[in-house]
Symmetry: C2
Subunit: 189 residues, 2 copies
Amino acid sequence: MKKKLTGTVKHVMVGEDKHTLETSSIPRVQVTFEGFVGDQHAGLTRLSDVRVPHYPRGTVIRNTRQVSMLSLEEMADIAAALHLPEILPEWLGGNLAFQDIPLLTMLPPSTRIFFPDDTVLVVDAENLPCTGPGEMIQQHYPIIPKLVQAFPKAAMHKRGLVGWVERVGYINEGDTVWVQLPSPVTYSY
Amino acid sequence: MKKKLTGTVKHVMVGEDKHTLETSSIPRVQVTFEGFVGDQHAGLTRLSDVRVPHYPRGTVIRNTRQVSMLSLEEMADIAAALHLPEILPEWLGGNLAFQDIPLLTMLPPSTRIFFPDDTVLVVDAENLPCTGPGEMIQQHYPIIPKLVQAFPKAAMHKRGLVGWVERVGYINEGDTVWVQLPSPVTYSY
């Protein structure tokens, strides 16, 4: 039998300012069915964007991108690929930065992450990297050229996950989480 | 390139009576972020039950089981396995009965089903068969013994799916739907 898949919450972050992707660290956050209290991406619904091209732009759809989750190990890989000393999870608009969850970004849709203070998050999808976080990184390293353009490739399959709240509660810096994979399903037609 | 995966809505059903699993056919239903208007399983949240044993029984969780979807071909297979002339989707508490979607019950979590009147449903999971629907079938074939006990085995991987509303709209009997599979993900640790 496989070892239980676990990890640690190293940073809890929220971003209230809709004019920037950047988030700020806090020690503890309340989690409702809308998402993280005080975060700009919280809400039961959202307007469709370029990430869901099968909807007319601006359609009201259920918000499955309430929370952005990052892996510190994957962020170190991105920094190394860009020859940078470090990238902070706040720059990528992260709400959670985990340590010790292997290949976080590859966790499949419907994976559940259980937190000790009741919260359960469900993985919607891999967060596909675009140039937005590259712009934040560029601002922090203004003398290094072309970070905006280089970010998406360097961050592919390492930019973390987005997900939604299945059970409300709190999340604290330092929490140990348990990761439950969905049953593997094979479908072909 | 593969042929587009499509199917047809043969029955639209709602069940208002919380004392029975059985649903009734209607020609058209309004679909909100809560589910099918007038159906007992509609709601943004639900109380956890035996299907989610990782939660204390009765915990308020997000309702990902708003809609029950069935395949007429799979229901014919269940009827054949039980040596019955037919099983109606209403007896299984179905909200939708599809035709021509191959292996409906095996569609993976996060599969999206697009309806022409705007509605989009997302697959949460296979609906694991229990004895409840067997009791409904038994009521309709009172002289045939042990249908209750035989149902779960006969219906395994053929009892359809449950899912939730991503985009609101209407669903009509006769609608042609388009099925979008999620990107395949492989994860091992």
